[in-house]
Point group: C2
Chain length 114, copies 2
């Protein structure tokens, strides 16, 4: 799971759509059929299926068909990988701001000479 | 800072480009001029400026011009807001999987009757 390397271009592109984010939010609460996923969105079933395909292609969700029903579920590893891109950046920013704070405390908030 | 509501459509759209992600990664290590940001990317200064404008429009970065140099810096609040979208989803998935694990442990991994 840890070495799951997501295609961040496609993951972020997929999540730039509010309808697809709503689908991911729904699936984080548990698996759902395609028609369930489409219910809060006022779009055709064909459009819902297209969104499902985009989410599946970037690895955020999985789906399988049983009889006439396609059931979708979230891929936790893909969610974690995308999250860690932000976590790493944020940790870097915070370390830097902490160091800056320490520096300012040491120098008594006075700019260094020259 | 906590009530910062990012336009996630635009934030994720901005981050769907690997060059722009590289710029955000660079800025998480500290402020940089537009030409510094463009150095690792083999593109024109005009193209770099366009990327900077996209990142600034969605709130991920800020820039200001001093003399002839435009200096960019990261907006930690926007980074945290986008991260929290993932954190909230992941927390939801994990709570659900924990409950499922508890259920399976209680029922001895046997499916419930009926």
């Amino acid at each position: 799971m840890l070495d799951y390397a997501p295609d961040l271009d496609r993951v972020f592109q997929a999540l730039a759509d509010p309808g697809r984010r709503l689908m991911v939010e729904r699936l984080s609460r548990g698996p759902a059929s395609v028609s369930e996923l489409g219910r809060p969105l006022d779009i055709s079933l064909a459009a819902v299926l297209q969104h499902v395909q985009v989410l599946e292609a970037c690895g955020l969700i999985r789906s399988r068909k049983l009889g006439r029903t396609r059931t979708c579920s979230i891929n936790p590893a893909a969610l974690r990988s995308a999250e860690s891109w932000f976590t790493d950046r944020r940790a870097m920013v915070e370390r830097r701001l902490d160091r800056l704070g320490e520096y300012l405390a040491e120098t008594g908030d006075k700019p260094a000479p020259g």
